[in-house]
C-alpha cells in the first residue's frame, strides 16, 4: 500500500487533560508508517458549545481548520469523536449552500485561506475511520507484535462518531458503528458486549448537571465490569475524561465500586504493536491499568 500522509488535527483535550492520547498517537503513527503533518495553527472545533452560542462562528472556525488542511493538499485526520462530530456538522452546512460558503470564505480571505467544497483528496476522518477504511485491518494485522489474546475489551464509541445517522457517512460506510469491534478483533482481543457501548458518557453536562453526567459514566463502566471487561477503549478524549478521570466520582454517585481501565484507541493499538504501557502514557490514567498490563504479560510477551 502507498504510505499514508495526513494533515493531523490533535484537538485541544489530547494536548490538555489527556496528554497520553497525543503521545500514544505519535508513537502508533510511527510504527504504522503513517506520516502526520500537524496543523499547529488550527483552532478548537467548538465542541458544539460555540455553535450553541453562534452557529456562524462555529462554522467559520471549522472552515478555517479545513482550509488549513486543504492548503497542505492532504486528507485530514482527528483523534477525537467530539471534533469529528462538531466539524462534520459545520462541514455539512458549509457544503450545503454556496452563498453561505462564499460569505464564510470572505472572512477567511484575510489569512489567505479558502475552504473548497469537494476538493479532491480532502476528507476529515477520525483515526478509527482512517484505520479501518484507509490503512486497512489486514495491514494492521501484519503489524501486530503482541496479539491482545484473551484481553476482554469493551468498545465505547462516543456519540459524535456514530450519530446522527444522516451525517456520519453511513451511505458510503454503513459499518462505521461497528469499527471498534473490528479493530479489537484485528488486534487479537475479545469484544465484550455490554449496554453502554453506544451511549453517552455524560461529559457535555459535567459542569451543568454533575449528577446526570456521573450517573451516565458510572452506569456504563459498571455495566462493562458486570459483562466481564478487562478494559474499555474509546476514540474520544472527552469520553475518557468522564469514564476515567471522573471514575472515582462516578463510583460515588452510582454507589458501587468501579475500577476499570479505559484506554484511548491509539493506546490499545500501541499495546498490540509492542509498545510498553508506560511508553503509551498509561501510568497517567486515574483508573489503574495494572490489571490490563498483567493480563497482557500473562498472554504473549512483546
Amino acid at each position: 500500500m502507498t504510505a499514508l500522509r495526513l494533515a493531523y488535527w490533535p484537538g485541544c483535550v489530547s494536548r490538555g487533560f489527556t496528554p497520553e492520547l497525543h503521545g500514544s498517537m505519535a508513537l502508533v503513527a510511527e510504527r504504522l508508517g503513517i506520516e502526520l503533518v500537524t496543523l499547529d495553527r488550527a483552532n478548537c472545533c467548538g465542541a458544539g458549545v460555540i455553535a450553541e452560542h453562534n452557529q456562524e462562528l462555529a462554522d467559520t472556525l471549522n472552515a478555517r481548520t479545513f482550509a488549513l488542511a486543504q492548503s497542505t493538499g492532504l486528507p485530514m485526520m482527528n483523534i477525537c469523536s467530539t471534533c469529528q462530530g462538531a466539524q462534520s456538522e459545520c462541514q455539512q452546512r458549509l457544503d450545503a449552500d454556496s452563498a453561505y460558503r462564499t460569505h464564510i470564505n470572505e472572512a477567511l480571505a484575510e489569512e489567505g485561506l479558502e475552504y473548497a467544497k469537494d476538493k479532491e483528496g480532502f476528507e476529515n476522518k477520525n483515526f478509527l475511520w482512517v484505520l479501518v477504511e484507509d490503512y486497512g485491518l489486514d495491514e494492521l494485522k501484519t503489524k501486530v507484535r503482541r496479539p491482545l489474546s484473551g484481553l476482554r475489551v469493551g468498545p465505547f464509541y462516543g456519540c459524535y462518531v456514530i450519530r446522527p445517522r444522516s451525517r456520519i457517512g453511513y451511505d458510503e460506510h454503513p459499518e462505521r458503528d461497528l469499527y471498534l469491534e473490528r479493530v479489537i478483533e484485528a488486534l487479537g482481543g475479545d469484544v465484550v458486549e455490554y449496554d453502554g457501548a453506544r451511549k453517552c458518557c455524560g461529559f457535555p453536562v459535567i459542569t451543568m448537571n454533575r449528577d446526570t453526567s456521573l450517573r451516565q459514566a458510572g452506569t456504563h463502566v459498571g455495566d462493562a465490569l458486570d459483562a466481564g471487561a478487562d478494559c474499555l477503549v474509546t476514540p474520544c478524549p472527552l469520553c475518557h475524561l468522564n469514564l476515567d478521570m471522573q471514575q472515582p466520582e462516578a463510583a460515588k454517585v452510582t454507589g458501587r465500586e468501579l475500577g476499570l481501565a479505559v484506554l484511548h484507541l491509539p493506546q490499545l493499538v500501541g499495546l498490540a504493536l509492542g509498545y510498553e504501557p508506560k511508553q503509551l502514557g498509561m501510568g497517567k490514567h486515574i483508573a489503574s491499568t495494572e490489571w490490563v498490563e498483567g493480563r497482557l504479560a500473562d498472554a504473549v510477551p512483546a
Binding site: 485541544c12 483535550v13 490538555g16 487533560f17 489527556t18 496528554p19 499547529d40 495553527r41 483552532n43 478548537c44 467548538g46 465542541a47 458544539g48 458549545v49 460555540i50 455553535a51 450553541e52 452560542h53 453562534n54 452557529q55 456562524e56 462562528l57 467559520t60 472556525l61 478555517r64 452546512r93 457544503d95 450545503a96 449552500d97 453561505y100 460569505h103 470572505e106 472572512a107 484575510e110 489569512e111 456519540c159 450519530r163 446522527p164 445517522r165 461497528l178 469491534e181 451511549k199 453517552c200 455524560g202 457535555p204 453536562v205 459542569t207 451543568m208 448537571n209 449528577d211 446526570t212 450517573r215 451516565q216 452506569t219 478521570m245 472515582p248 466520582e249 497517567k284 490514567h285 486515574i286
Partner: protein, 378 residues
C-alpha cells in the same frame, strides 16, 4: 414469501409474572413493516399479543417501539431492513428484537404508559399560544416567512420515540426531555406568542430543563418526522443564553460564554480556565461567588489532585487558569477577526428549511432545456 423471526419482549401484569422473551415466525413480503409482522403474529399465532397502532403509515404516531434496540415506529421500519440490521455483525440468523419503548412504564406487551414521561412533560411547557391583548376579529395575520423557523418542531406527531431514546432521561427521569422541549421551541419561536422571554426563563431555570440535554443525538436519529428535537433544544439555549442573557441555575450560559471567550483569546481550549470561569465568572464572580460556584469548584478538587498524582495535570498551564498558550504567529489575531465577522452576522443556516443545494450537473452531461412555451407568446 421470506420468513422472519421476531423476538418480542412480552409482559402481562395480570399473570403476576415478570417480562419474558418470545419468538415468533412470520411470512412476510420484505417490503412490509415490522408492525405488519406483529399484526400477522396477532392474527395467526397469538391473539393475546398487544400492540398499539392505527394509521400504519407513520402519520398517527401510535406504534412507537424499539426495534433492535433503536426507538422508532414499527410501521416505518421495513422488516427486511430490520432483519439485516439484526445480523450485521455476524451475518447469522439472529431474530429481529422488538421491545416496548424505554423511559416509560409498560402497560402490557408493547404498549407503554406515555402519561408520566411524555404527556405530563408536554403540559409542563405550556403547549398553547399565549398572545397579548384582545384577539383579532378574524385570524391572526403574520408574514409566512416568520413561521418557517418553527415548521420543523410543528412536524412532531407525539409518538414518544425521542423520549424512549433519550440518554439523559435514562438517568434523570426529571429531565423535561426532547419532545416537550421541541414543543416549547414551537411556541418560543411563534411570532404570535407574547411570552417567549418568560418561557425561556422557565426552561433555563429548571435544573432539569434545556441545560440537562447531553447532546447525544439519540433523539435526532429516533424521530420519524425529522423534528431533530436536540437542534430545537440548542436553539432554545442560543436564545436563552445569548439573546436574553439568562444566567441559568445549571451554569449553562456561564460555561458557554467562558468557552467562547477562551477560544477567542487562545485559539485552543484552556481547560482549567474553563472550569474556573464556568463556576465563578470574571472578577465579580470570584469576589462574590454564587452558592453553587464554591460547591462546584471544591467538588472538582479531588479530581485535580488525582490528576496531579498521576502526572496527567502536572504542568503549569493545566494547573493555573490563563497560562495556556495562544496560537502561533499571527494565527490568534486572525481567529479574533473571524469572531468579529461572525458575531456581526450570526447567520443561522437551517438545512431543514433550505435543504442542500443540488449538485451542479457534470460538464459533459447533456443539459435538457425546457421547451419554449410558444403558446404563451403573443
Amino acid at each position: 414469501m421470506p420468513e422472519y423471526t421476531l423476538k418480542v419482549r412480552r409482559y402481562q401484569p395480570e399473570t403476576g409474572e415478570g417480562p419474558y422473551w418470545q419468538e415468533f415466525k412470520v411470512d412476510l413480503d420484505p417490503d412490509l413493516s415490522v408492525l405488519d409482522g406483529l399484526l400477522q403474529v396477532r392474527d395467526r399465532t397469538d391473539g393475546t399479543l398487544v400492540v398499539r397502532c392505527s394509521c400504519r403509515a407513520a402519520i398517527c404516531g401510535s406504534c412507537g417501539m424499539k426495534v433492535n434496540g433503536e426507538s422508532t415506529l414499527g410501521c416505518k421500519t421495513q422488516i427486511s431492513e430490520a432483519h439485516e440490521r439484526a445480523n450485521r455483525r455476524d451475518g447469522g440468523a439472529n431474530p429481529i428484537v422488538v421491545e416496548p419503548m424505554a423511559n416509560m412504564p409498560v402497560i402490557k406487551d408493547l404498549v407503554t404508559d406515555m402519561e408520566s414521561t411524555h404527556w405530563a412533560k408536554i403540559r409542563r411547557v405550556t403547549p398553547w399560544l399565549l398572545p397579548e391583548g384582545e384577539p383579532p376579529e378574524r385570524e391572526y395575520v403574520v408574514p409566512p416567512e416568520s413561521m418557517i423557523d418553527i415548521t420543523q418542531s410543528m412536524a412532531c406527531i407525539q409518538c414518544g420515540a425521542c423520549v424512549s431514546s433519550c440518554l439523559s432521561m435514562e438517568v434523570d427521569p426529571g429531565f423535561i426531555g426532547p419532545a416537550a422541549l421541541a414543543k416549547a421551541y414551537r411556541f418560543v419561536g411563534d411570532p404570535r406568542d407574547s411570552q417567549a422571554t418568560e418561557r425561556l426563563y422557565d426552561l433555563a431555570q429548571d435544573p432539569h430543563g434545556i441545560y440537562d440535554c447531553t447532546h447525544c443525538f439519540s433523539c435526532v436519529d429516533a424521530c420519524p418526522k425529522d423534528v431533530a428535537p436536540m437542534d430545537q433544544i440548542m436553539r432554545l439555549r442560543r436564545l436563552a443564553g445569548h439573546d436574553h442573557e439568562i444566567d441559568d441555575v445549571n451554569n449553562g450560559r456561564r460555561h458557554e460564554t467562558a468557552f467562547v471567550k477562551i477560544i477567542e483569546k487562545k485559539g485552543t481550549l484552556d481547560e482549567s480556565l474553563l472550569l474556573q470561569e464556568s463556576y465563578a465568572q470574571g472578577i465579580k464572580g470570584k469576589l462574590i461567588p454564587r452558592a453553587g460556584a464554591l460547591k462546584g469548584l471544591v467538588g472538582s478538587i479531588p479530581t485535580a489532585i488525582r490528576g496531579l498524582r498521576t502526572g496527567k495535570m502536572r504542568s503549569l498551564p493545566k494547573l493555573i487558569p490563563g497560562v495556556h498558550h495562544e496560537l502561533p504567529g499571527d494565527a490568534q489575531g486572525h481567529v479574533k477577526r473571524l469572531y468579529s465577522h461572525a458575531e456581526e452576522h450570526r447567520t443561522q443556516l437551517n438545512l431543514y428549511i433550505t435543504g442542500e443545494e443540488e449538485l451542479e450537473p457534470e460538464p459533459d452531461e447533456e443539459k435538457i432545456e425546457p421547451e419554449a412555451d410558444e403558446e404563451g407568446e403573443g
